[in-house]
């Protein structure tokens, strides 16, 4: 069998597959790219050719315009395509709508690049599928034992309880515009919240895109009001969802005594929430927590684990304690969209 690094190796643009002649989620412009999901640090504009799921291509087109790449090709979940001698299959990663793991098969070798992923149920995307492989390439955004995300239902209940306790205040929730915002909307609907939910302008296109793929988000309306409006019209007792940066800025002044929430896995750590002045931390993440990461590795039992970005140190330690051969790829250029 060939060396693993003959099939996949890091270079200055990210992960490169020499026999297939393509990069996966390159951080620089390349000739051919396979994109795991639509978050900006993974899906960049300007590549020569892009292979991705239909949803991811739609997200890229919505963010960058129709000409985001020279050519684009849609890959269906589970359907292999050939690139050079390499068989490339995209399978669901459970991270956001259209997110995929990239399965590479070549000369008897299987490498899975999981991209960003999570294992818990998400009403807005297909669940992660574990694939047996020789090398599993994992993220480690929340790769510390302190990250144990609680049940989503409990977090949504926390928000609904607060609405009952503080009906005079706008509940302004920061959530990343792609993925988290729609998941929060969907979870609120599942919890039986039927009121109109108000959203920041930056999310409208993405919400529409999700709905066009059959993800129901319920009634939403633009969060338009201003400081001069009377109290009643300043969305008191309503939920407003906005990108985190907007909740921290002057934009937030238009609402009635805003009660600031933030939906992110980082909210698990109290100091992080406090530093950002968050009153209602909602621990809601699109990345796997410690149990999901270690559980997935234990389930897949790869010969080797490669860790791309995040807190790799603890995950490497866990691997050595559990007899898993592991190394850090130290890829740069991936931000963490939950911050």
């Amino acid at each position: 069998m060939p060396n693993f690094t003959e099939l996949l190796c890091p270079d200055e643009a990210g992960l490169y597959c020499p026999p297939g002649g393509f990069h996966i989620d390159p951080v620089r412009v390349v000739e051919r790219a396979v994109i795991t999901h639509g978050h900006g640090d993974h899906a960049r504009t300007g590549h020569g050719a892009v292979l991705a799921t239909r949803e991811t291509l739609a997200i890229m087109a919505s963010r960058y315009g129709a000409d985001f790449a020279g050519t684009s090709e849609e890959a269906r979940y589970g359907q292999a395509v050939k690139r050079g001698g390499v068989e490339v299959t995209l399978v669901p990663a459970g991270h956001i709508l259209g997110s995929a793991q990239v399965v590479l098969k070549w000369k008897g070798l299987t490498i899975v690049v999981s991209g960003d992923y999570k294992r818990r149920r998400d009403p807005t995307c297909a669940p992660f599928e574990p694939i047996a492989c020789d090398v599993f390439v994992s993220e480690a955004t929340f790769g510390l034992p302190v990250f144990r995300h609680p049940d989503d239902g409990g977090e949504v209940a926390k928000l609904l309880q607060s609405l009952r306790q503080f009906p005079e205040r706008t509940h302004l929730i920061g959530a990343y515009a792609l993925g988290k915002a729609q998941r929060l909307l969907a979870l609120l609907r599942e919890a039986g919240y039927g009121e109109t939910i108000y959203i920041h302008g930056a999310m409208q296109n993405l919400n529409a895109l999700y709905e066009s793929f059959g993800v129901a988000l319920g009634t939403t309306a633009p969060a338009t009001t201003d400081r001069r409006a009377n109290r009643h019209d300043r969305l008191e007792g309503r939920i407003v969802i906005a990108p985190p940066s907007a909740t921290q800025d002057r934009w937030s002044r238009r609402f009635a005594e805003p009660l600031l929430g933030f939906a992110s896995g980082w909210m698990r750590v109290r100091a992080r929430a406090r530093q950002q002045g968050v009153e209602l931390p909602l621990i809601l993440s699109d990345h796997g927590d410690w149990d999901e990461l270690t559980g997935t590795i234990a389930e897949i039992k790869p010969q080797e684990l490669w860790v791309t970005h995040g807190s790799e140190e603890a995950l490497l330690r866990w691997s050595s304690l559990n007899g898993v051969t592991a190394k850090a790829l130290e890829l740069v250029g991936y931000e963490d969209e939950e911050t």
Binding site: R121, F147, R253, R270, G277, D291, T296, A298
Partner: protein, 563 residues
Amino acid sequence: MKAFARLLDRLSFSPQRNVKLTLLEDYLRHAPDPERGRALASLTGELVFDEAKPAMIRKAIEARLDPMLFALSYDFVGDLAETVALAWPAEHRPGKVWSAEGAERFSVRPCDQQKSHGANAEPELPEVVDTLRSASRREVPQLLERWLDALDTDGRWALLKLLTGGLRVGVSARLAKQALANLGGVEVAEIEELWHGQRPPYEDLFAWLEKRGEKPSADAPARFRPVMLAQALDEAEDFPKLDPADYAAEWKWDGIRVQAVNEGGQRRLYSRTGDDIGKSFPDVLQALNFEGALDGELLILRDGHIGGFGELQQRLNRKTASADLIAKFPAGIRAYDLLLDGEEDVRRLSFAERRKRLEAFVARLHSTHIDLSPLQPFADWEELRRLRAQPPKGDAERAEGLMLKRWDSIYEAGRPKGPWFKWKRDPHLVDAVLMYAQRGHGKRSGFYSDYTFGVWRADENGDEVLTPVGKAYFGFTNEELLKLDKFVRDNTVERFGPVRAVRAVKDFGLVLEIAFEGLQRSTRHKSGVAMRFPRVNRIRWDKPAREADTLSELEKILVQEGS
């Protein structure tokens, strides 16, 4: 435990008083007996455990988690109890190898699954409290481990806070009592008056507040009696209407208001909100050789002379006082009213009558720990105004101002308008430069409304640099807030989370005139001083930053105040 844990969690993230009150009231309304009573006791400090020392907690986690993984976790989180609450690996987690429908199985969290598989049931708060009471020191580590296994993350965090003593979620006993008052639609003075006759879990108290039972009796031995408070004097408004002959004047001492009670041998020292602070002041308790209840000021008292507030602070907020500390900072009471003379309740008598009795009462004590707050004679308001500006040499120089009390006033709880006034000295003023600003909450969310300011000081190279001396977040109008916020945004040089550093150099900066009540030495602040009640008095848009005050000018106040 879940509801209590969630309450603590929300409280810890809610800096606003009204928000805390709503959260507390909501919890007390919905939690069952006896849980809410135990919760109340822990919030009001009636229930203090310090069974679990950090070393014990550390030992527990190190037996469960790889030391390196623990070290990485602790390093990231920075707080031991929180790290343990988060990283605690509960036993019987679901199998590490999942079936193909792994994602389905993750729709519930591992801990919840564990419970349904018949692990220990989550302990409720009363169970934890009762078990701890009867447990020996040797048993605590095992109990701790068992509970940590059975609880979820928030529950573990609440448990560890409870066990290590001090919940530190920014709730005072006073605030908890206010929440009780709101729950029952009664005055907080009513709660304070009967509080010391009640014991956890306070079921009679809740029954009364929920109109299901009789009002519990306040008749506990050595109970607290709600205090009478003074209105702030408005010179322009009030003086024309007041006759100097109707009022007695005395100095307003700069200590803390206390009520000292001895009934049938039961001695108690209460703060003005009815918290029992006797444990911190054994020297004062020992001096309560009388039958009755005194109202007065707790001060550092040496040979009949008072010390500064900074010295008193050495004695406050300590659970106990060592002999050394007591010798160095002897505490005493300067008495100014009498509520109980022997067994006789004298609160319905006039101030003139109570004063006569008080003088005789204190004279009989011959105590170095209890003396009399003297009356300050005066002919008219003008004379009093002069005295206030230029107090006579001695203790009066350390006073915060004057008190005016109507000779015919009875002693009534609360803050009635008219009988008592406080007339504080004019505040100190300093011109300081805005250095940092922090975002506010609620109505001020989205505004930079908390300001850290500094004064000039020479550094080791002799260069003039700014050193922070305080933080102010009120004293300005809404229009001024808008301008301040704009200044902060336009002149930000650095950001740290919700805090921005603003440009502040000799040639550019915003001068704030800060008013404050007093200055103390402080080892906790880089500047070596700490202000009391600082607020923005004026915004000096006109004043160049280089002309702001220096630390040495500020330190002169320390000398004036003799601290």
